[in-house]
């Protein structure tokens, strides 16, 4: 328990240290934070419930569009926008979850793909509202809490995003440490047995699905606010796949997976994709293959095992 407390604190320390060490890369840091928040929301489903989805960008995108459209048409207050993004995504999550969660495995994956494609197509068709293929432009946010205006250097943007991520992490860790979170792990490990001990599995999963969707929506809203732009790519299958890769890179169901995987991915994308955009997919594919074949559990497990060996502690029970 103390070990997790130290590591939880390390997450916060890293958020504080980054701008001090790399003041010239605040935009990159902000992007890392948004992706970490999004990956964390996905972790709730993939890592803790054991549900595989290739459509999580649907919720991110709906959150982003809601916050962006709200800012343009009604209120440009950032916190209101976050709330709107979260609520909109939660509503979609409730609808989608009710339909999708009757299925498992391949059918569930297909339905998550269909969900994100429906949302993308809708956003594309409603270009009077969303800007369609050109993306949603003209977002101009008010100062955070009425006092801190977004600046050109991205300082306020970074601090704002970091604060949202820290709060999101507090919620996330409360959920996964709670009885509810443990019952999700039970469902992940053995769903039929959870039913046999009387757990209302469908209700639990639906609640987790809505929570995850809401967090993803908040991440999307955050992205819309700090970049002042929403593109159709925010609701794409490709992006859904990418966020899954970020999570896997760090390790799913291992608490800190999103915090390691997302920044590393964003960093590599920034460098590799700039140097060699044509082969970016090849690199990502090869890296993913290497993880699946040689390092299941991602970086967190790998590092955990190294540390465990060094300190002669028993390794974490692994999720491969």
């Amino acid at each position: 328990m103390t070990k997790t407390r130290v590591l939880d604190a390390a997450v916060v320390v890293a958020l504080v240290l980054y701008p001090l060490l790399l003041p010239g890369y605040l935009d990159l840091g902000t992007r890392m934070i948004v992706m970490a928040l999004f990956a964390m929301s996905l972790d709730l489903l993939v890592g803790y419930c054991g549900l595989v989805t290739l459509g999580h960008a649907a919720f991110f995108g709906v959150g982003a569009y809601s916050a962006g459209i709200l800012a343009i048409r009604a209120s440009a207050d950032p916190l209101t926008g976050l709330l709107a993004g979260g609520v909109a995504a939660a509503i979609l999550g409730l609808l989608a979850g009710t339909v999708l969660l009757r299925s498992r495995r391949l059918t569930l994956i297909m339905l998550t793909l269909a969900t994100v494609l429906i949302v993308q197509e809708t956003a594309n068709r409603m270009n009077w509202l969303t800007g369609g293929a050109d993306g949603l432009q003209g977002i101009d946010m008010d100062p955070v809490l009425g006092r801190f205006a977004f600046d050109l250097f991205g300082r306020v943007g970074y601090v704002y995003a970091a604060a949202v991520l820290a709060l999101g992490f507090l919620v996330f860790r409360a959920v996964v440490d709670s009885n509810f979170g443990k019952s999700l792990v039970g469902i992940r490990e053995n769903e039929p047995r959870m039913r046999a001990i009387g757990a209302p599995v469908d209700t639990r999963l639906r609640i987790a699905f809505v929570m995850s969707a809401a967090l993803a929506g908040i991440a999307g809203a955050l992205q819309a606010q700090v970049t002042e732009f929403v593109s159709l790519n925010a609701v794409s299958v490709e992006f859904s796949g990418e966020i899954l890769i970020m999570l896997i890179l760090g390790g799913a169901g291992r608490r800190y997976g999103a915090f390691l995987g997302a920044p590393l991915y964003v960093f590599m994308q920034d460098y590799l994709a700039k140097e060699d955009p044509a082969n970016w997919y090849l690199w990502i594919g090869a890296m993913l293959m290497a993880i699946v074949l040689f390092a299941p559990g991602g970086l967190t497990k790998w590092i955990g095992a190294l540390v465990g060996r060094a300190t002669h502690a028993s390794p974490l029970p692994g999720r491969s």
């Binding site: 595989v52 059918t107 339905l111 429906i118 997919y281 293959m289 491969s320």
Partner: protein, 292 residues
């Protein structure tokens, strides 16, 4: 009235041709899913590979259409078997997440390789003269290419049905699907059955990719863009329901074509909602459910 009927016949015909290609793409996945419990989202990669090989043989080596298709199918089948023996096998009892990640890795790498070799644009296929005209088949005059597709599809569906239901090999496949341990204990070489089935599945995908290249254009993002469609066929048919896959593929092809014709703006959304509604009612698809 007469015109409406003609239109509907024509839409149904185009839908059937489209559904036939979907069937080629989906049937192999249906088999690997039912048999090995292996969710191979990268199945479309084999279709794309078949398509690219055919196009390359025709344009670079000037091999005629049908021999090109044959070579492509054989080559992809061999490659599929090799991949099964070396890599896929490791994932049969792996968690579903690992299977999905392995597939995504394959998809990403193949997209990058395809783009590196062929560039981002779709590769057009030069149909031979005997397939580019129109022919009359009783209910009307239709493009020869699509008539040919449907005919091959029907032949194959019948052949696959006979192969699975009537042949000795089919019997061992069905036994292995039902109960692997039992099949092994009566002397069926389950590993060999797996390899052959995987190979056949990839071969059929390659056939769909190359024969259907004029309908579903061969481009680097092929395995991604058509993924959801062949997953729909497999999911709606239900796990291991190989006969049902044909009916579902044709049904989806026809309904999709009609919906898109009448509602071009909303067609895609409506189709996905329809699929969701069906699976909400029947989460296991139309498979005759087998209880252990």
């Amino acid at each position: 009235m007469r015109e409406l009927l003609d239109l509907l016949v024509s839409l149904a015909f185009y839908g059937t041709a489209y559904g036939t290609v979907l069937y080629f793409l989906a049937v192999g996945l249906s088999v690997t899913l039912g048999l090995m419990r292996f969710i191979n989202l990268a199945h479309g990669v084999f279709a794309m590979a078949g398509g690219y090989l055919t196009v390359t043989l025709m344009s670079r080596a000037e091999v005629p259409f049908l021999p090109s298709v044959a070579v492509a199918v054989v080559a992809v089948t061999a490659f599929g078997m090799l991949l099964e023996r070396t890599l896929c096998r490791r994932f049969y009892s792996a968690p579903i997440l690992d299977q999905v990640l392995f597939s995504i890795a394959l998809i990403f790498m193949s997209i990058a390789i395809a783009r590196y070799i062929y560039g981002p644009l779709a590769q057009p296929i030069e149909l031979p003269a005997w397939l580019s005209g129109r022919i009359s088949i009783g209910i009307g005059v239709f493009p020869a290419y699509r008539v040919f597709l449907i005919a091959i599809g029907l032949l194959l569906a019948v052949a696959i049905w006979f192969g699975i239901e009537r042949s000795r090999f089919g019997a061992s496949v069905r036994a292995a699907v039902d109960n692997r341990q039992m099949a092994e204990s009566v002397g069926i070489n389950v590993n060999r059955v797996f390899t052959i089935c995987f190979g056949l599945g990839t071969g059929l995908a390659a056939l769909g990719g190359s024969l259907g290249a004029d309908l579903l254009p061969i481009h680097p993002a092929y395995p991604n863009d058509f993924l959801v469609y062949f997953l729909i066929v497999v999911a709606v048919a239900g796990m291991g329901n190989i006969g049902g896959a044909f009916a579902v593929a044709l049904g989806f092809g026809i309904v999709d074509t009609i919906v898109r014709y009448y509602l071009p703006d909303l067609g895609r959304i409506l189709m996905f909602l329809l699929v969701m509604a069906v699976l909400f009612r029947k989460p296991h698809g139309f498979a005759p459910r087998v209880h252990a």
